[in-house]
Each structure stands twice: as structure tokens, then as C-alpha cells.
């Protein structure tokens, strides 16, 4: 038997089971003379809501989503949006900022131990930097306009008043909708360009064993990207795809989705976006304040030779091989 035939058999079997189970209930819905008893078989909402979270029927208008008569789940979604998301989002984002502040106080700025050599090595090509900043800028724009939808009425509305806040939010909605395309373009570029350098290697185990560079006395070896950066890459790709897919479902409301799918899309979009913001806050911290010599990699594309030795020695060795040791490499990674 083919798989399809198996499935068909299962469906028929399930249908029969349902029929057998429903038979006594059906019997009560007919009078003694066999005629349907309209009051006995009448539908009531308590029973219907026990059977399914939504009561649906037939309507005379083309708007299919109007066929859902009742969905008490709306109140559940309200609870998610107004209680869980507000508290969860605030705890995660403020908590991340506090943790990063704590990290700065305890660990401080990770300096180039040997000082700057004055020699530069190309780390990111122009196209790679462009892709990064395209994604980064659109991420910040999307993040701020997105946070406004959830937290604006708590944070911004009391400051600027309802009319100004509404105008800002209206603009923010359109900016959010249209910036999404730039973000997706950047995400695809990043995903493709850095794909091959983000697989786990043997050296990554050593990096983890050596404490990932956080223990100052120990050198943590790494290729072009260390496991921390690889984690950021894979989490960003995962979160990026998730927010993009759920975001486009929200951008095209009820295009092949129903109310349940729209609610789920919003929940997924909001939860993943909050976690994504926390991840990127950490990424921004380590790329700017947290480490000396890291930001220039994405700013000018070139890093100091001593920085590369301390953080990406395996990559640096590969870079320098074709040329004389100590001279800047002509090509970036690989």
C-alpha cells in the first residue's frame, strides 16, 4: 500500500469512529416519529466552545474571516499582549542592559594586550560591511518602531500626548512595514556571505576550553569567527527568518491565514523579536564598548594585527600564509 492509501484508510477509520461515537447523541436529536427535533438538537455556545476554541458558521458576505462568530481566545491574546509581553519584554530587555552593564563593571573593556601594532589586516570586504550595516540599521529602525507598538503607550504617550503620539505611531507603522524589506535583503546577504565560516571547527573546542577569551591569562584560539560569534550568527539567522516569516504574515493580513494564524504570528513575532533585541544588544556591546579594536573591523574593515593575533590567530595565520609574515593581507578571509 502506498503512503497515500494508508492516510486514506486512517481518515476513513477516524471518520467511522467519530460516527459511532456520535450515534447516541444523534439519536436524541430526533423525535419519537423520527423527525428532527429542532429544540433538542439546537446548538448552544457552551457546547460549541467546548468542542473548539472558535465558533464558526456560514456568512452571506465575501469576507471569510467574518465567518468566525466568536473567539474567546481574543481575550487570551489580549492577556499575552498586555501582561506577558509587557512584563516579559521589559524584563528581558532591561535585564540584558543591566547584565551588560555588570559585565562592563566586572570585566571592563577587553584591551589589546600587546598594544596596537600599527599594522592593519583586512577583515571584512566592503560588500560584507555594506550587508552588515544594511541589516544593522534596518534592525535598529525595526526594533525601535516595533517597541513603540508594544511599549509606546506606556513610555512615549504620557510624554508627547495622544495626538503627537498617534502621528509618530502612524509613521512608525509604515516605516516598520517598509524597512522590513531592507532587513530581509541584508539578512539574506549576511546568511550567504558568512555561511561557510560559521561551521563549528576543531579549534572552537579549544576556544571554549580556554574560557572564550574572558580569562585574561589564557589565549583562546579561533578561526575567522569564534564560537561566540558563530552562536550570534546562527541565532540571528534563526531569529531573522522567524521574524521575517511571521512579519510578512502580519504585513499581509488574512492572505491565506485565519484569525488563529494571525494571533500566533503576532505572538511568535513579538517573542522572537524581544529575544532578538536582547541578543543584538549583547552583540553591539561586545563590538563597541566591550572590546578594544573590534568596532573598526566593521567600520573600516581593517583590524590591528595584534588584535587579530589575540582573537583570531588561526584565521590570521591563514591570511598571512600567501604573503610575507607581518605584511597586510591582500584578501580577506579564506
Amino acid at each position: 500500500m502506498t503512503a497515500l492509501a494508508h492516510i486514506r484508510l486512517l481518515i476513513v477509520g477516524a471518520a467511522l469512529l467519530v460516527f459511532v461515537a456520535a450515534a447516541p447523541a444523534l439519536a436524541q436529536k430526533f423525535g419519537p416519529d423520527g423527525a428532527p427535533n429542532p429544540t433538542a438538537s439546537v446548538v448552544d455556545q457552551t457546547t460549541l466552545l467546548k468542542q473548539a476554541p472558535r465558533i464558526e458558521g456560514r456568512i452571506d458576505i465575501p469576507d471569510l474571516k467574518a465567518a468566525v462568530l466568536e473567539q474567546p481566545v481574543g481575550r487570551t491574546w489580549d492577556y499575552f499582549h498586555e501582561v506577558l509581553l509587557h512584563w516579559g519584554g521589559a524584563v528581558v530587555i532591561v535585564g540584558t542592559i543591566l547584565l551588560l552593564g555588570l559585565a562592563y563593571v566586572i570585566i571592563g573593556r577587553i584591551r589589546i594586550a600587546a598594544g596596537r601594532s600599527g599594522q592593519k589586516v583586512l577583515r571584512f570586504k566592503a560588500i560584507e560591511r555594506f550587508s552588515h550595516w544594511l541589516t544593522a540599521i534596518s534592525f535598529v529602525v525595526l526594533g525601535l518602531t516595533g517597541l513603540n507598538v508594544t511599549f509606546g503607550k506606556i513610555v512615549l504617550l504620557p510624554l508627547v500626548g495622544p495626538d503627537t503620539f498617534s502621528e509618530i505611531s502612524q509613521a512608525a507603522k509604515y516605516v516598520h512595514n517598509f524597512t522590513s524589506f531592507a532587513f530581509v535583503a541584508g539578512l539574506i546577504l549576511i546568511a550567504v556571505m558568512f555561511f561557510k565560516d560559521n561551521f563549528l571547527e576543531r579549534v572552537d573546542l579549544d576556544w571554549i576550553k580556554q574560557g572564550g577569551g574572558f580569562i585574561k591569562s589564557r589565549h583562546a584560539p579561533a578561526g575567522r569567527f569564534n564560537p561566540g560569534e558563530k552562536l550570534v550568527y546562527w541565532l540571528s539567522i534563526g531569529a531573522g527568518i522567524t521574524v521575517s516569516v511571521s512579519g510578512f504574515l502580519l504585513l499581509f493580513p488574512f492572505y491565506g491565514t485565519d484569525i488563529a494564524a494571525m494571533q500566533i504570528a503576532q505572538v511568535v513575532h513579538a517573542v522572537v523579536a524581544v529575544l532578538f533585541i536582547a541578543l543584538i544588544l549583547a552583540h553591539i556591546y561586545i563590538g563597541t564598548l566591550g572590546m578594544e579594536g573590534a568596532f573598526e573591523a566593521m567600520a573600516t574593515g581593517e583590524v590591528d594585527l595584534n588584535w587579530a593575533k589575540e582573537h583570531h590567530d588561526v584565521w590570521l595565520a591563514r591570511q598571512l600564509k600567501p604573503d610575507q609574515p607581518g605584511t597586510p593581507a591582500g584578501t580577506p578571509a579564506e
Partner: protein
């Protein structure tokens, strides 16, 4: 203070859609927007029932809670109104609404939603417009409520299936009906909307 509610007695509704038509006409609702609709459950089967549904003007309205610009609010009569000047058309009220009441005109590209429109209980708008003014009518529709009248959908229901008015009064009417005829499919949406049921 009266607490305004809707009640659809599904055992009387004949799916004539006159409430839908009355609403559209009275409020001059644009094409594609349906503030009220009739949903038929178990269509063509024994026990089929039709329910006329619009905004139920909930207690503790979820639409008002989720609105990111806080433009929806209940009046002292329990009528849920909104201010279209503030609405940004995000669509969140539709996700939160247990009754599918909020409607949006499509403006611009993709699914870009215009300012939300919904049943106002024929009580005009929640914006700064003067009650009963032409500006208010153009944005929100009729303000019968200000003239001491109830929503037209319920007022002209031919079988008096759809009831509007003070919650206690219409609950009493429904209760008497059910007791007299011996059956009733319940006050549709009341538990979700008002967090109370009509005990028969």
C-alpha cells in the same frame, strides 16, 4: 446608569440580514465594511441557528486594552467608542476582539489597513467632533443614541431577535421568553463579552 448591551436570541433569528442592511444604511458604512453580520451555525442541519453579531461593547474591552495608541474606550453607558483621529490601523483590535467586530478599509499597498471602523451602538464617535454633527456622521455614522434612541439594527429587527438596551432589561426579556417557550440556545457571547450569563 444604564449598561448598554446587545443580545441576539438565536431561536428567533431568521437570517434575514435586515439588521445588516439597516446598519449599513443608517450609518452609511462604506463598501467592504460590515459593522454587523449574521453567522449561521450548523447551516442546513437540524438545530441550525443564526446569530446576528457586531461589537458587543464588552466589559473590560480587550480591543481597548491592546490598542497601541489607546484610542478605544468605554463610555459611562458601557458603549465602546474609538477616536479615528488617533487610530493607526494596526489591526490589533481585530486579533483581540472575540466577535470579529473591527473592520478596516484597505488603503494603499499590501494589507495596509485604514482607520478602524466598527459598531458604535449608533452612538456617534469617540473623537472630538460635536455629537450629532455632520463631521461626526461622516466619520462614525449615526448618533441615534444622543437622540435617546437605540441602535437601528435592534430597533427594526422583524422578529425582535436582536435586542439592544440596558443589560438588565434585555436579560429579563430574554429570560421570560425562554421560560415561556421552554427552550433557548443562550445569550450568545455574553459570557465572553460581559463575563456573566443569563441564568434561566
Amino acid at each position: 446608569m444604564a449598561r448598554m448591551k446587545f443580545l441576539c436570541d438565536a431561536d428567533r433569528c431568521i437570517d434575514c440580514n435586515a439588521c445588516v442592511t439597516a446598519c449599513k444604511n443608517e450609518n452609511e458604512v462604506p463598501w467592504g465594511i460590515n459593522r454587523r453580520r449574521v453567522v449561521t451555525i450548523n447551516d442546513g442541519k437540524p438545530g441550525e441557528r443564526s446569530v446576528s453579531m457586531a461589537c458587543m461593547h464588552c466589559t473590560d474591552p480587550p480591543c481597548a486594552a491592546v490598542c497601541p495608541v489607546s484610542c478605544i474606550y468605554p463610555t459611562e453607558d458601557g458603549v465602546v467608542l474609538h477616536n479615528k483621529d488617533l487610530c493607526i490601523g494596526c489591526g490589533y483590535c481585530f486579533y483581540a476582539c472575540p466577535f470579529g467586530a473591527p473592520q478596516y478599509p484597505q488603503v494603499g499597498n499590501f494589507g495596509s489597513r485604514g482607520k478602524m471602523d466598527k459598531c458604535t451602538y449608533c452612538a456617534g464617535g469617540g473623537g472630538p467632533e460635536a455629537p450629532g454633527s455632520a463631521e461626526e456622521f461622516a466619520k462614525y455614522g449615526s448618533n441615534r443614541f444622543g437622540e435617546g434612541k437605540l441602535p437601528l439594527c435592534a430597533e427594526m429587527c422583524s422578529t425582535k431577535s436582536l435586542l439592544a438596551g440596558d443589560g438588565d432589561v434585555i436579560a429579563q426579556i430574554y429570560k421570560e421568553r425562554v421560560l415561556k417557550r421552554g427552550y433557548g440556545s443562550g445569550a450568545w457571547g455574553w459570557v465572553t463579552a460581559y463575563r456573566e450569563d443569563i441564568k434561566i
